[in-house]
Symmetry: C2
Amino acid sequence: MYICPMYSSGLIKGTLKTIILNLLKNENRMYGYEITQKVKDLTGSKIKITEGALYPTLHALEKQGDLITEKEYIGKRVRKYYKLTDQGKTTVQERVNEFADFIQTMRFLLDLDSPKQNV
Amino acid sequence: MYICPMYSSGLIKGTLKTIILNLLKNENRMYGYEITQKVKDLTGSKIKITEGALYPTLHALEKQGDLITEKEYIGKRVRKYYKLTDQGKTTVQERVNEFADFIQTMRFLLDLDSPKQNV
DNA sequence: TTGCATACTTAAGATTCTTATGTATATTTG
DNA sequence: CAAATATACATAAGAATCTTAAGTATGCAA
């Protein structure tokens, strides 16, 4: 198993819930493993969600009422599908808007909008 | 002391060093308290660096060789100025580039580039 | 039949932040 | 001028969130 270049210093920290919720906004329902693969695919392996981060986060989102689960058996193997609740749909918008605002602030703070950064 | 709306869920997490280093890139040298005020001003209080986060981070950056200090006395009060080392200047570029890349990835992942998000 | 992919769970440890406490000087304001 | 606020640093305890690791088990391909 190879290691690919990922973001250091925990940039992902704090965005994991937002990513998961937003995926479910577009996909209706997904199961855990599917989420990790989708994120890996969409980001060209720049973001890889580890299982140790994913499953506790899914459980937390369910506990706080943003997700509900549907268990299904694929052969003998359990698969837990997650989907947004109505509350979850609101939470997604809040989270995404907040993140959009945050990166605007950061772009300004780090001078990322001005041209000729690397001259 | 009033509480103003800040970013929840630790979005700032992982970006603090980047913010500090980038400020010092433009300002030559700054002291801790000055940094907190500058960030508060530049972000309209959207980002407030607490002392408990700031000082340990400054110490860590010094320890890892990105910053050096100059103590000065203003009257009887100590003030520690921080400035970038040569290594620190490299680190800033790396950190900022990484963060710029990260928000590009996130903008794509969260669909922030497509118009009519909030219609 | 061995290894890899799929699929979920949880515990231990690391990192990074918040909150709280402590110390001390300087300035503003009633 | 006394009290409150601002300046200025430090650090410890606790919370949140992630990584790493270990465990369990099925399905498939070489």
